[in-house]
Symmetry: C2
Subunit: 191 residues, 2 copies
DNA sequence: CCGAAGTGGAACACTAATGTTCCATTTCAG
DNA sequence: CTGAAATGGAACATTAGTGTTCCACTTCGG
């Protein structure tokens, strides 16, 4: 292996610590939206210096978390197979997939820098798939035509946020919060 | 008037600037959740020194904003007359009242320090009135019994958040966003 | 007109977070 | 075992925000 393949073939160790830092960053930021690099380093059982080695600036780390989040969202959207079944069924599956993320996606609401990047401005494939799905529901007659695609999108996300807040604030079991999300979504969308 | 009545009889000017700073703080924080005291002072057309005269520490200002917000929420809850009409009607009125706040209450989601105070932990009269209202709806048979009081509370707030996000992100007119909120809420709660 | 209240702004010290450098230590593959 | 890779930690400079002090300026009621 010739030297200089910096980004390509990282040693196993590097990949592992990089991942550890990333995970720790997510965990720390979920607990405290303004977590310090020192906090994150501690959470990752790593020196602050090491964090800087992998992510020279704070914004680099934030960007990485952001990218990681986007990837997971896209993956979950694919798993939900939005083309299968009726539109409400597909939306329900998507809701369940997203719910699995746990408080991970709470970050979108609590850490504003996270959404700042250009990647969040443009529509992702997942976004488009969701919007198309709602339109399909309109044609099928399985989704209330007043519930326009973008509103459904807002609704889905804020329902998930509600669900996890319900778990956190009121100590409700997760499965119960999920079923409240699903029921509320289904009823709101029903024609 | 004897000297030393510090907090009681403030001159008109003092009250006016205090209010100006408070309003500016709300506006600045809505625009940027991590607004600086300098930002706020500038927004209020006031020197930073003056801000410190009225609110010695940043937390004092935040507390004042928090109190102001709580007052308005309580006032809006009273105006909604939750005891009148059917439960869904009352909830709809409450939703409209809250919606009037504009992005003001977005602060609850974006400025975590704001909710940190002890005043937000304990249940306010407004909270209790809302929870009782939902129970009344259950007895009347006008609200789905699966929609437990605290969930309805979460739902109401996150719908409002969705509504204003819809306005901000998608440029939808306010009245339209409001009607989407009301419709979604009504359908989700319907038995 | 006068004096007190209210204000603005400059200057300062203090703190917390960030980013950098350097060196000693550990780890691990060959 | 040996050297390169990876890490931890101390020390440092820098920056941004905060809180304080002091003085000059305006304003406004009497």
């Amino acid at each position: 292996m010739s030297p200089g393949e910096s980004a390509v073939a990282e040693s196993g160790a590097r990949l592992r610590t990089r991942r550890a830092i990333l995970d720790a960053a997510v965990g720390a930021l979920v607990g405290n939206a303004s977590a310090t690099l020192a906090d994150i380093a501690a959470a990752a059982n790593v020196g602050r210096t090491t964090v800087h080695r992998y992510f020279p600036e704070r914004s680099d780390l934030i960007d990485a978390v952001s990218a990681h989040l986007l990837e997971r969202i896209e993956a979950a959207t694919e798993r939900a197979k939005l083309d299968a079944g009726t539109a409400p069924e597909a939306l329900s599956r998507l809701c369940q997939e997203f719910f699995e993320f746990g408080d991970l996606f709470t970050l979108c609401f609590t850490v504003p820098e996270l959404m700042a990047g250009p990647a969040w401005e443009e529509e992702t494939d997942g976004d488009r798939a969701l919007l198309r799905l709602v339109e399909r529901g309109h044609h099928e007659g399985t989704i209330d035509r007043e519930m326009e695609p973008r509103w459904v999108q807002q609704l889905l996300w804020s329902l998930l946020f509600s669900g996890w807040s319900h778990v956190r604030d009121n100590g409700v079991p997760k499965h119960h919060a999920l079923s409240l999300c699903l029921r509320s979504l289904a009823k709101a969308l029903a024609p």
